[in-house]
């Protein structure tokens, strides 16, 4: 091998020639072939790969929808109807794209929950987690702007309400809103820029996902026990073990996805968005898409404009400092007998907020929203920091390999398990 060339291990002469000059084949082999992966993953670990697939589906269907869509206030709604009625398989792309957004949020919410439950945000994976929160924020922006494009009543009034959130900020608020609109109301300039950004952001997400995966491959994956990989006996090569396991998850994911697209394509949408946008009339009951409901409930729980907006943004921004709010060195909730109940309760509070966000802002729903909002923040800012000091965690297993062989739990010292590589 001459100087300056990568020492490729591939036998095929063409692959070897390319790989020696640009080791992409070696990289794929190292990162997705032989990559040592903890051998005790459960199905929660499918959801990162599912999110990646979902992103690719959204980009593919989105590019083809953009070929037929017209970003103009007088033509947008009709061009979407034309996609549904006249364009070959246009109905399929639009329903896959619209329900794909819902699937994306389902998958990513499970992925985030996995990270919280098994402590994947803790050292050394803090930056990995922070990049993930950035991806989530980009996803929210992209989904919001995409929902505006069909230019139905919910599109228009969703855009009006969400952009008006920024008017809550003193002094600069109104200027920010005018800047977002490009005018004095949501109108054609707004639609044009939202289309441009809705096209751009998925590629930005793709870039940040690359950073997310790159950071993951430095620290390696967390696992359900939350303990570090100690020896090769704790790991398996990614391929074929986790390519196969991810494929099983993929089949289930596609069954759910296809059920939505083919049997209930409008179940998660809102009927009012099939009414063309009318700047003169607001729909009686205006709600965002289901995946934004918890934050919407937090916004409405606060009887103060600026306070509601700050708390709503804060509900996600607080995730950025989660690695430092959680003071416990134990990652997995399996070994945190008290914290796991509080985290489950937080999950329920999130669900309550999602439920209340879809209901009218009155009576019991306001009370429930306030209680759930209070607990949402109490978990991050009070309970989690204190529990790290007060809670006595269960004893951790010595290694991943031991509980796998002996059915879990810590082992007495000296009872060394047989290594796995001959299994």
């Amino acid at each position: 091998m001459s100087i300056g060339l990568h020492n490729s291990t591939f036998k095929n002469p063409v692959i070897r020639w390319v790989d020696s000059r640009l080791p992409i084949f070696s990289m794929m082999q190292n990162e997705y072939g032989t990559f040592p992966t903890p051998k005790n993953f459960n199905y929660f670990w499918n959801f990162g790969a599912l999110a990646m697939i979902n992103l690719l589906i959204m980009i593919a269907t989105g590019i083809f929808l953009a070929m037929h869509y017209t970003p103009h206030v007088s033509m947008a709604f009709d061009s979407v109807e034309r996609i549904m009625r006249d364009v070959n398989y246009g109905w399929l792309f639009r329903y896959v794209h619209a329900n794909g957004a819902s699937m994306f949020f389902i998958v990513v919410y499970v992925h985030i929950w996995r990270g919280m439950w098994y402590g994947s945000y803790k050292a050394p994976r803090e930056l990995l987690w922070i990049i993930g929160v950035v991806i989530f924020l980009l996803m929210m922006a992209t989904a919001f702007m995409g929902y505006v494009l069909p230019w139905g009543q919910m599109s228009f009034w969703g855009a009006t309400v969400i952009t008006n959130l920024f008017s809550a900020f003193p002094v600069v608020g109104d200027h920010i809103v005018t800047l977002l609109w490009g005018g004095f109301s949501v109108d054609n300039p707004t639609l044009n820029r939202f289309f441009s950004l809705h096209f751009l952001l998925p590629f930005v997400i793709f870039g940040v996902v690359f950073l997310h995966v790159a950071a993951l491959h430095i620290t390696g994956s967390n696992n359900p026990l939350g303990i570090d990989v100690k020896s090769p006996a704790d790991t398996l090569p990614f391929h074929p073990y986790y390519t196969a396991k991810d494929s099983v998850g993929m089949v289930v994911y596609f069954i759910v996805f296809a059920s939505l697209v083919f049997f209930a394509p409008n179940y998660l949408g809102h009927a009012d968005n099939y009414i063309p946008a009318n700047p003169m009339v607001t729909p009686a009951h205006i709600v965002p898409e289901w995946y934004f409901l918890p934050y919407y409930a937090i916004l409405r729980a606060v009887p103060d404009k600026l306070g509601g907006v700050l708390l709503m943004f804060g509900s996600i921004l607080v995730w950025f400092i989660l690695p430092w709010l959680d003071t416990s060195p134990v990652r997995s909730m399996r070994f945190r007998p008290i914290a796991k109940w509080f985290l489950l309760l937080w999950g329920i509070a999130f669900g309550v907020l999602m439920y209340c966000g879809g209901k009218p802002p009155e009576g019991i729903y306001v009370v429930l929203s306030r209680v759930a909002t209070l607990y949402y923040f109490a978990w991050f800012l009070v309970i989690l920091p204190l529990l790290g000091r007060l809670e006595r965690p269960l004893p951790l297993p010595e290694s991943i390999a031991k509980p796998v062989l002996r059915g879990g739990g810590p082992l007495p010292a000296g009872a060394a398990a047989k290594p796995m590589e001959k299994a």
Partner: protein, 192 residues
């Protein structure tokens, strides 16, 4: 490639080898690969299909026009499928010139009678797109150059068409095509 990624000694016992050296894994790779190829094709089909003309585009595939008002020697340009269609009311001299050309002179030999409707030889209907590279030839307006053969002249690369719309000189390979059309009345045509 998959073989050496499996843990040593795991699924690849010597007993699985058939006499000719093939293994169960060869079959699995072939079957899985074939299935994946069919799946990829099935997924690609709607994407490719969506780029073909949509139903509303196909619905615009006919154009009707009243042509009774065109004087002898005059012409109008209609739009059909986004393209210009030349309708020329030919004079008896022009019909005569088109009908008496020696077939040997033509690059794309076609009798004038095959390019008009029987009994309607004064009406020539052709698609007004040069068969070279798609420009619209001149010759519709009285002031336009009509080329050396009295038909049309393409200004882009100098193709000359005769009074039957046939290529006579220049780089174009074929005659101006005659679209599918019919006379719905004596003075009305339907193209497409």
């Amino acid at each position: 490639m998959a073989d050496h990624l499996a843990p040593a000694g795991a699924p690849h016992a010597a007993g699985e080898h058939a006499a000719d050296g093939t293994t169960k894994r060869d079959f699995l790779i072939l079957a899985a690969g074939g299935f994946a190829a069919v799946g990829a094709g099935a997924m690609a089909w709607p994407f490719i299909s969506s780029m073909n003309p949509a139903r509303d585009v196909l619905a615009l595939s006919t154009t009707e026009a009243e042509i009774g008002a065109i004087p002898v020697g005059g012409a109008v340009t209609l739009m059909w499928r986004g393209k210009p269609v030349f309708v020329r009311h030919r004079s008896p001299d022009e019909v005569q010139a088109a009908a008496t050309v020696d077939m040997g002179e033509l690059r794309d030999p076609q009798a004038d009678s095959a390019r008009v409707k029987a009994g309607k030889a004064e009406w020539l209907v052709v698609i007004g797109v040069c068969t070279h590279l798609g420009c619209v030839p001149l010759g519709q307006k009285p002031t336009d150059p009509k080329g050396e053969f009295g038909g049309w002249f393409c200004p882009c690369h100098g193709s000359h068409y005769d009074t039957s719309g046939r290529i006579r000189k220049g780089p174009a390979p074929a005659n101006l095509p005659v679209p599918t059309y019919a006379f719905t009345t004596d003075t009305q045509i339907k193209i497409g």
